[in-house]
């Protein structure tokens, strides 16, 4: 007779947990990065990511990335991708370039759910991958809780 109540008590901690929501994690970011690079090695350098280290409002965070490249037919940046560790999804944006771009520059406004590390990866026409990372502190998170 007491069994259902005991079972309920045992289950109580799990009932109190918030519903499982998708969360990016360093592992999820690594998986998204692997999808972008196809498993190739990523070397830090050549990429410069510019983002404020202290973000007051995570709803709109200006971010710019510039890659040091001559942007010639033989040597140019073909894509830039941005990843994050702690938003609901690890991927932020992927941009594609050609020698006609003239410069490998990307500027946009992103959302940040919490303080975290961001990673910018550039894919070059010669098949190499370069990256830059930035640690940001977010005081007001992008609205995920309504």
């Amino acid at each position: 007779m007491n069994t259902p109540r005991r079972l309920l008590l045992l289950a109580a901690p799990t009932l109190l947990l918030p519903p499982a929501t998708a969360r990016a994690s360093p592992e999820a970011m690594a998986a998204a990065l692997r999808e972008f690079t196809g498993g190739a090695a990523v070397t830090p350098g050549r990429v410069a990511m510019d983002i404020s280290p202290l973000v007051e409002n995570g709803n709109t965070v200006p971010l710019s990335v510039i890659v040091d490249s001559p942007m010639s037919e033989a040597d140019h940046v073909s894509a830039i991708a941005i990843f994050n560790e702690r938003n609901p999804q690890p991927h932020v944006i992927t941009a594609h370039y050609s020698p006609r771009s003239g410069q490998a520059l990307l500027a946009t406004h992103i959302r940040l759910a919490t303080s975290q590390r961001l990673l910018a990866v550039a894919a070059l026409s010669d098949g190499t991958f370069w990256s830059d990372s930035a640690q940001v502190i977010v005081t007001l998170a992008a609205c995920l809780e309504g």
Partner: protein, 106 residues
Amino acid sequence: MARVLINIPREIHAGETITIRTLIQHGMESGYRPGADGNVVPRDILRRFTARFDDEPVFAAEFSPAIAANPFLSFTMVVAASGTLTLRWEGDNGFDQTETRRIAVA
């Protein structure tokens, strides 16, 4: 039609690399946010942006929900001669908007 702001330099010389800035009015509903009734608001975001100059691809981008509302994008392109710049935004719920701008070199 969503409102769009496109900034192109006024004076362009042939062979110059110019910076184009774009902003489009869109809520970019992430699909992770509960609405007033407590249910999660379904995702409604822009997925893809493409820029073509005289039908030749110049720049393209794929967005995730982590892009802020009213997506802003800035990119560069080399202008060899006068032509037409075509910007296209595609998104969830059949969103598709194309804007064209004439680019004339001085």
